[in-house]
C-alpha cells in the first residue's frame, strides 16, 4: 500500500515537471548537444549525408578571416557598450533616487527604451542616422556646421553607431537594478558618513559603490551576455556591413547557418560562442568574488 502511494506521488511529480522538462530539453539541452556533435561533421547536402570529419571545421574557423573580424568587432562592441551603459545606469539611478520633482516621470522615461521592441527602436534610429536630413546630421549641421555624413554606411563609424543604439537601449534597463539596490541601502549609513565628515564623493566611492557591487556583478554578467546576444538591430541598421564592419559573432553565425546553409560550420561557431560566454561568466565571478560584499 505504501509502495503504491509512493509510486503515485512519483508519477505525479514527474507529470508536474514534464511540461517544463519537455521545453527545456527540446529547445536548450538537445540542441546544445546536437550542435556540439554537428560541429564534428560535414554539412549534409542533397544526396551527400553528413560524415565525420573530426576537427576540420575548427581548423577552418581558426583560418577564417571573417571569424576573427567579427570576434574583434564583438570585443570592441562589448568594451564600448558595457562600461558606458553601466556607468550611465549608476549615474541615472543616483539622480532619480534623489528627491526631485517629476521623479517618476524621469524614471519612466529612462526605462522606455527597454520596453520598446528592438526592431522598432532600430527603425527609429535609422531615421536619426539618415545622411543629410536625419536628426543627428541636423543637429551637428546646425551646431557645428558639419557636412552630411553616412554613419551607418562608413566602415569606420558603423560599429560605433550601433554601440550608441545599444547603450541607449541598455542603460535604462540596468538603471532599474541600481535603483532597487540604492533603495535597499539604509539612509543612516549615508548620514553616519556625513557626520564623520565625508563629502558626497567620498560617500559614493567608500560606501555606496561598494554596497552596489552585487548589483554591478549581476549587471555586468547580463551586459556581457547581451553584447553577444543582441543582434536584432544589426539586421535593420546595417545588415552587418559595410564589409562586415558591424557584424558580430552571433550575426555571423546566423549568416553562415541560415543564409549560406553551412549548418555544420555554424554549429562550430556556436560552440566557440558558448565556450567564450562560459569563460567570461566564470571569469567575472572570480574577478568580482573578492570585491563583492553580500549582506
Amino acid at each position: 500500500m505504501r509502495d503504491f502511494t509512493f509510486k503515485r506521488d512519483w508519477i505525479y511529480g514527474w507529470l508536474l515537471l514534464l511540461p517544463a522538462l519537455v521545453f527545456l530539453f527540446a529547445f536548450t539541452h538537445i540542441p546544445a548537444v546536437t550542435t556540439f556533435l554537428n560541429s564534428f561533421f560535414s554539412t549534409p547536402r542533397g544526396r551527400r549525408p553528413a560524415k565525420f570529419i573530426g576537427v576540420d571545421n575548427y581548423e577552418r574557423m581558426l583560418g577564417d578571416p571573417v571569424f576573427w573580424k567579427v570576434l574583434w568587432n564583438n570585443l570592441w562592441y562589448a568594451l564600448g557598450t558595457i562600461p558606458v551603459s553601466v556607468g550611465l545606469a549608476i549615474v541615472m539611478a543616483l539622480w532619480v533616487n534623489e528627491k526631485l520633482t517629476g521623479r517618476s516621470f524621469v524614471r519612466m522615461a529612462y526605462f522606455t527604451p527597454t520596453v520598446l521592441p528592438l526592431i522598432a527602436v532600430a527603425n527609429i534610429w535609422m531615421f536619426f542616422y539618415t545622411p543629410g536630413f536625419g536628426l543627428v546630421d541636423q543637429i551637428t549641421g546646425a551646431l557645428f556646421g558639419w557636412p552630411a555624413s553616412n554613419y551607418l554606411g562608413n566602415p569606420d563609424t558603423a560599429l560605433n553607431a550601433i554601440i550608441v543604439v545599444t547603450i541607449w537601449k541598455e542603460a535604462g534597463f540596468f538603471m532599474i537594478f541600481y535603483l532597487a539596490a540604492l533603495q535597499a541601502i539604509p539612509v543612516t549609513l549615508k548620514e553616519a558618513a556625513q557626520i564623520e565628515g565625508a563629502g558626497r564623493w567620498t560617500i559614493f566611492w567608500r560606501i555606496t559603490f561598494p554596497l552596489l557591487m552585487p548589483t554591478t556583478l549581476f549587471v555586468c554578467v547580463n551586459a556581457v551576455i547581451n553584447s553577444f546576444r543582441l543582434v536584432d538591430h544589426i539586421f535593420i541598421l546595417t545588415d552587418g556591413g559595410p564589409d562586415n564592419a558591424s557584424a558580430l559573432l552571433l550575426f555571423y553565425i546566423y549568416e553562415v547557418a541560415f543564409r549560406f546553409w553551412e549548418t555544420a560550420y555554424g554549429a562550430t561557431l556556436t560552440v566557440a560562442l558558448l565556450v567564450l560566454l562560459s569563460l567570461l561568466a566564470i571569469g567575472q565571478f572570480f574577478f568580482f568574488d573578492r570585491k563583492v560584499h553580500y549582506k
Binding site: 539604509p186 549609513l189 553616519a192 558618513a193 556625513q194 557626520i195 564623520e196 565628515g197 557591487m213 549582506k295
Partner: protein, 357 residues
C-alpha cells in the same frame, strides 16, 4: 575600562534658541529652547512622536531648522552641514558600514580627515582596548552580536575625540541585561572622556539613571528641563508628574478630598509610593484590584470617581472590595493649577494643613 590613555578633552556647550521644525502643516518641534552645558550628559526624553529625535537630528545637522538658531560652543551652526559641526553620533540602528571591517568602521572618520597612518593605528588600538574590541578588529559587522556592534558604533563615535557626542536611542536594540551594562559603561565613558553628551531615549529609567539633565518633551514642546532628582521630586506640570516615575503619579481633582471641597481649581498629585495606610487619613478609598509584586503590593483604588494607585507593604494584606483609609506626608503633595497646569509650590503648605485639620 582603562580610559587614562585618553586626554580629557573638554566638551562644548550647545544652545537651542526657539528652534522649530515644520513638515507642511504639522509641527514636529515647536519653539524649543534648551541650554546644554559643556561636558554634561543631557537626555532628551519623551513619548514617541514628541520630537526628540528630530531635535537631535537638527543638532547633528541631518535635519534643517525651520526657524530659530542652534549654537555650538557659542558659534551659530544653524546653516552648517553636519560634517562641519565637529560632533559624532551613534545611531539607533548603529549604521555600521556592512562591507568594512570593524577596524575600518572605527577609523572611517580619521581616514576621511586624512589623519596620518601612525596616529590612526595608535588611536585605533586605544579605542579597541578601551571597548574590548581588540579581538574583533578584522571581523565584519554582520559577524558580531548586537552588543558588539553597539561597541563598534561607540568606538567610531569616540575615536575622533570630538567635543560633542549625540546618541539616538542607542540601547533600544539590546536585551535588558546588556542594556543595563551598557548604560553604566556609556555613562562612565562620557565622564572619563569629558565630552558633551546628548542622548535621546523614550525610556525614563535610562534618562534618570544616566543624565545630569533631563529634557522632557511632549508634542514638540518643552515640558521641563531639570536634573533627574528635581524632575521626580518637583515636576513642573501634570505631564511631567505622570511621565516620570513608575507607576505614574496620582492626580486628583481637589474636590476628591472632602476637606478641600472649597478649592476646585487645583489638581493635587501624590506618588503611589508616598501614600500609606493611615487610620483617619484624608483619603477614604475603595480597593478595586490588587497586584502582588513581591516587594510590595500595587493596589488600584477609587475615591470620588477618581481612580489611583497605591504601593502598599505586603505585611498587611488587602483584598479587592475593601475600604481603606490612606494618608501621606504633607511634603509629598504636589499642587498644579488646573487651567495652566503650572506647579504651585506656594500652596502646598496651605493644602497640607487643610488636609490635616
Amino acid at each position: 575600562m582603562k580610559a587614562d590613555a585618553f586626554p580629557a578633552n573638554s566638551g562644548k556647550p550647545i544652545q537651542l534658541e526657539t528652534v522649530s521644525r515644520l513638515w507642511g502643516e504639522t509641527t514636529a518641534v515647536d519653539a524649543l529652547s534648551i541650554d546644554i552645558p559643556a561636558g554634561s550628559f543631557t537626555a532628551l526624553l519623551g513619548p514617541s512622536g514628541c520630537g526628540k529625535s528630530t531635535t537631535l537630528r537638527m543638532i547633528a545637522g541631518l535635519e534643517s531648522v525651520s526657524s530659530g538658531r542652534i549654537l555650538i560652543g557659542g558659534e551659530d551652526v544653524t546653516g552648517r552641514p553636519s560634517s562641519k559641526r565637529d560632533l559624532s553620533m551613534v545611531f539607533q540602528s548603529y549604521a555600521l558600514f556592512p562591507h568594512l571591517s570593524v577596524a575600518e568602521n572605527i577609523i572611517f572618520g580619521l581616514k576621511v580627515r586624512r589623519v596620518a597612518r601612525g596616529d590612526r593605528d595608535q588611536r585605533l588600538k586605544k579605542v579597541a582596548d578601551l571597548l574590548g574590541l581588540s579581538q574583533l578588529l578584522d571581523r565584519k559587522p554582520g559577524q558580531l552580536s548586537g552588543g558588539q556592534q553597539q561597541r563598534v558604533a561607540l568606538g567610531r563615535a569616540i575615536i575622533g575625540e570630538k567635543p560633542i557626542c549625540l546618541m539616538d536611542e542607542p540601547l533600544s536594540n539590546l536585551d535588558a541585561k546588556l542594556r543595563h551594562e551598557m548604560r553604566v559603561e556609556i555613562r562612565a565613558l562620557q565622564q572619563q572622556l569629558g565630552f558633551t553628551m546628548v542622548y535621546v531615549t523614550h525610556d525614563q529609567v535610562e534618562a534618570i539613571t544616566m543624565a545630569d539633565q533631563v529634557v522632557l518633551l511632549n508634542k514638540g514642546r518643552l515640558e521641563q528641563a531639570a536634573p533627574p532628582r528635581e524632575l521626580y521630586e518637583k515636576p513642573a506640570n501634570p505631564f511631567t508628574a505622570r511621565f516620570i516615575g513608575t507607576p505614574p503619579m496620582n492626580l486628583f481633582p481637589a474636590n476628591a478630598f472632602k476637606k478641600l471641597s472649597t478649592a476646585p481649581d487645583f489638581q493635587l498629585g501624590v506618588r503611589p509610593e508616598a501614600i500609606h495606610p493611615h487610620d483617619g487619613g484624608p483619603l477614604v478609598a475603595d480597593i478595586r484590584t490588587v497586584e502582588y509584586l513581591g516587594a510590595d503590593i500595587l493596589a488600584d483604588c477609587v475615591v470620588a470617581g477618581t481612580s489611583f494607585q497605591v504601593r502598599l507593604p505586603t505585611a498587611k494584606p488587602v483584598a479587592p472590595g475593601e475600604r481603606i483609609e490612606l494618608g501621606f506626608e504633607p511634603d509629598a503633595l504636589h499642587v498644579f493649577d488646573a487651567d495652566s497646569g503650572r506647579r504651585r509650590d506656594d500652596l502646598v503648605a496651605e493644602f497640607g494643613t487643610l488636609l490635616r485639620s
